[in-house]
């Protein structure tokens, strides 16, 4: 019997499950702790989901529904309200309305996604009033037509921050501004202009939130201009902390799965194998955060290696890949064999804007690849070629990626 258990029923988990069934795996179970499977897109009202994987443009909820339908049609067992609450590295302890059970599997795929760092994790001082959200929470409140606020400040200026802007505007909330510590926003070139012109939302660059004030409800936010040291106050009743993603890696840690210090997700090779034989990781638990369709393609890609593991039971040795500052992470972050990664590229992130950086990849003093990228934007992945992984000495030391 080959049972594959996939933890997390978002785009990555469902796409992986569907592909596994297509490849003939007899029992594929997706455990999702939410009331409905589908993952984060369920709450994203805007269009544009599904371009890379389904070749069509859908709203987030329609995209999520489509994947659940495809999973049902493929014979995947999707179990909502089933949360994995314990994992020793062997059997999964599953908690659901039916009670508690131990579930064993021939292969496990972690697809638990990622979340935004909330205010406390960013150590923003001040009082603790209501009205402080992440985009994830904001979008759920908006979708369920629950109260949000009247005047909102958005913290961050990456893709998801503009998504938060749209959600706020559509919910009738006045957006008083966006702030980012960087010199410019991190989204597509037109996003800043569109925000300024269409929604009259000023973007304050080189600015950070110094404190939040308010009793009961947010009343005022202290902003600090990083270059001048000047402080100013903004009156608002809502603050939305956007982006700054962190993989939901707690289950991986509980199961003893090695993490990459850069991504803080499980360390994976190009086939999405973790360090633990039989355990794979796909989607945004690996690195926060890629768009939903990229996560889905990663899930689908992972299925091939899962099927191979079920047939052959091989688990290749691997060499670690790590990044030097200002680079923050590369994904995949281990090299095990010469198979290509998903979308035939490696993803690279940096903590700062880099214009025409020269990237060098070295192992034991030997340059495996070097080249110049057009630019790297913090919070967005730059693509690197993968073919150099074929030149890696599998018995050699760790590989280092640096920018100059």
């Amino acid at each position: 019997m080959s049972r594959v258990v996939i933890i997390g029923g978002g785009p990555a988990g469902l796409a992986c499950a569907i592909e596994l069934r297509r490849q003939g795996v007899s029992e594929v179970v997706v455990l999702d702790r939410e009331q409905q499977a589908g993952g984060i897109p369920r709450h994203c009202g805007h269009q544009g989901f599904g371009l890379r994987d389904l070749r069509r443009a859908l709203s987030g909820p329609a995209y999520a529904r489509r994947y659940v339908e495809l999973a049902d049609e493929a014979g995947v067992v999707v179990r909502p309200e089933a949360m994995v609450t314990g994992w020793s590295g062997e059997a999964l302890e599953v908690t659901s309305p039916e009670g508690r059970e131990a579930l064993t599997a021939s292969a496990i795929v972690l697809a638990t996604g990622c979340r935004e760092r909330p205010r406390a994790a960013r150590l923003v001082p001040g009082s603790r009033p209501e009205g402080v959200f992440t985009t994830g929470l904001l979008q759920q409140l908006a979708q369920q037509e629950l109260p949000i606020g009247r005047r909102a400040l958005i913290v961050g200026a990456e893709h998801v921050s503009f998504s938060a802007l749209l959600t706020l505007v559509h919910a009738g909330v006045d957006v008083v501004g966006m702030v980012t510590p960087y010199r410019r926003h991190q989204s597509l070139p037109f996003a800043g202009t569109a925000a300024a012109l269409r929604y009259r939302t000023p973007l304050s660059t080189r600015t950070e939130v110094a404190a939040i004030h308010g009793r009961g409800r947010v009343e005022e936010v202290d902003l600090l201009e990083l270059d001048t040291g000047r402080a100013r106050q903004v009156a608002c009743d809502t603050v939305v902390f956007t982006g700054d993603w962190i993989p939901d890696h707690e289950l991986a840690v509980q199961g003893g799965i090695e993490l990459d210090p850069g991504t803080r997700g499980p360390r994976i090779d190009a086939a999405h194998r973790t360090a633990h034989p039989g355990v794979f990781a796909a989607g945004n638990v690996v690195q926060g955060a890629e768009p939903a369709d990229v996560a889905a393609l990663a899930g689908k890609h992972t299925a091939a290696a899962v099927a191979l593991w079920l047939r052959k039971g091989d688990w290749p040795a691997r060499v670690h890949v790590s990044c030097l500052a200002p680079l923050t992470w590369i994904s995949p972050n281990a090299v095990a064999d010469d198979s290509p990664p998903v979308r035939r590229r490696m993803l690279l992130r940096a903590a700062a804007f880099l214009d025409r950086p020269r990237i060098e990849i070295r192992q034991d003093g030997r340059t495996l690849w070097s080249g110049t990228l057009r630019k790297v934007v913090p919070g967005r992945s730059a693509s690197l070629p993968w073919e150099w992984t074929r030149a890696v000495d599998p018995k050699g030391g760790p590989i280092e990626v640096s920018a100059h």
């Binding site: 949360m83 609450t85 908690t95 959200f133 929470l137 629950l146 707690e250």
Partner: protein, 409 residues
């Protein structure tokens, strides 16, 4: 719950209290009473032990004085550990520790369930609890006793107990006494992710200085580690704001005490205000002829001392003429367990609403129907732990808001 909800949540033996004070006596008595009451009332509690660590010669030299003080307080179980033994016990401790005192009976207790259990038991046994009701004036009645004017109704009473915490001095003045002033002392604390919990087994205390007991690192009953508190006298009694300077200071201290801790995510920051006064002891005075008991100036040890304080005040009021008859069939309480020290409801299965803290729908529904139901998200948080975890509502915030909005009233 008052300021207790933001307590460091330690169960104090009182080993370091000033010998001979009322505080020393009531903390010791409170420890005994709460240790017995907590398990039956469903209050998470555990005597996990504390290590008071010296980081330099001066701190090491303070040990004999601390041991002598503990003995004077009737606490003999304190003992010195050498450096090797200390690092065997706590291998993750930062380098440079010189030695430690072990206080095996120090513990941790739930700062939410404790006051809530008292309130619930009081209400179930006939006490009227008026929330959102501020005292605006106190007038003495001609026949003895008081008229207590509030933002709600006026209450006529023969006996009056002032347990107004940070505002105990203001109420004391309304009654006509002026023997102490509360200066709130701010304490900022950082709560670290549950993944940090295996780093530490004991409470790690600092050697106290004149003004503060220093920064400690402690496990919580919820399975986190906390780092704090700061100690800063401030003006306003409602200023529970954290500060950039305070958080930076705590992080420096944390880096020194338990370096690995700083590599973990922060789950929450909270701020407590201690009801400090110009006096070194609790300000508990029974004005027998008036029928007025002032129970003020209770600092962070008050959570531990609470039942000792209550017993003391009751005894004194009885001596002052208050007649009490034991209830023939008192109702006892059994609070829902929100700690990690004993089994949680989700372990039997259920609809898990809050994933980070593993709170089930049944728990939330039960709390919404409880004798003292929450009126807002904060109240629901402290009764169930919803929204208190690492995601701070990213996943379940809207679901929880909807459950509160649709609650039966």
């Amino acid at each position: 719950m008052g300021t207790s909800k933001a307590n460091t949540a330690l169960l104090h033996t009182g080993f370091d209290a000033k010998p001979g004070t009322l505080e020393a006596r009531l903390v010791r008595r409170g420890y005994e009473l709460l240790s017995a009451y907590a398990p039956q009332a469903g209050i998470p509690i555990a005597a996990i032990g504390a290590l008071l660590v010296a980081w330099d010669d001066e701190q090491l030299a303070a040990f004999p004085r601390i041991v002598a003080g503990a003995r004077a307080n009737g606490y003999d179980t304190i003992r010195e550990l050498d450096v090797d033994e200390l690092y065997r016990r706590e291998p993750q401790l930062g380098p440079g520790a010189r030695g430690a005192l072990e206080v095996p009976d120090e513990g941790i207790v739930c700062p939410f369930t404790t006051p809530l259990a008292y309130a619930t038991e009081a209400v179930l046994n006939g006490c009227e609890l008026h929330r959102d009701t501020r005292v605006t004036g106190v007038e003495r009645r001609g026949d003895g006793g008081f008229d207590v004017q509030t933002t709600g109704e006026t209450f006529a009473t023969r006996y009056l107990v002032n347990a107004a915490g940070l505002r105990s001095d203001e109420l004391n003045r309304l009654v006509g006494h002026d023997d102490f002033t509360v200066t709130p002392r701010r304490g900022e604390l950082i709560v670290f992710d549950k993944l940090s919990r295996p780093l530490l087994r004991h409470i790690v205390l600092a050697v106290p200085t004149g003004t503060t007991k220093g920064v400690l690192v402690s496990p919580t009953v919820f399975g986190n580690l906390i780092l704090g508190p700061t100690a800063e006298d401030i003006e306003r009694k409602d200023d529970t704001s954290s500060t950039a300077a305070g958080l930076a200071y705590l992080r420096r201290e944390g880096e020194r005490i338990l370096p690995e801790l700083l590599r973990h995510e922060v789950t929450a920051v909270y701020v407590g205000l201690r009801a400090a006064t110009e006096h070194t002891d609790y300000q508990i005075t029974i004005h027998a002829p008036e029928g007025y008991a002032c129970v003020g100036g209770i600092r962070s040890t008050g959570l531990t001392a609470s039942l000792g304080i209550a017993e003391h005040v009751r005894t004194e009021l009885e001596a002052a003429g208050l007649e009490l008859r034991p209830k023939p069939e008192p109702v006892s309480v059994s609070m829902p367990n929100i700690g990690e020290l004993s089994p949680r409801p989700y372990e039997q299965g259920g609809r898990v609403v809050c994933f980070c803290e593993r709170v089930t729908l049944a728990e939330i529904e039960a709390v919404l129907r409880s004798p003292i139901p929450p009126v807002d998200l904060d109240g629901l948080r402290r009764r169930t732990r919803v929204l208190m975890g690492r995601c701070q509502g990213f996943y379940c915030g809207a679901h929880v808001a909807r459950l509160l909005q649709e609650r039966p009233r």
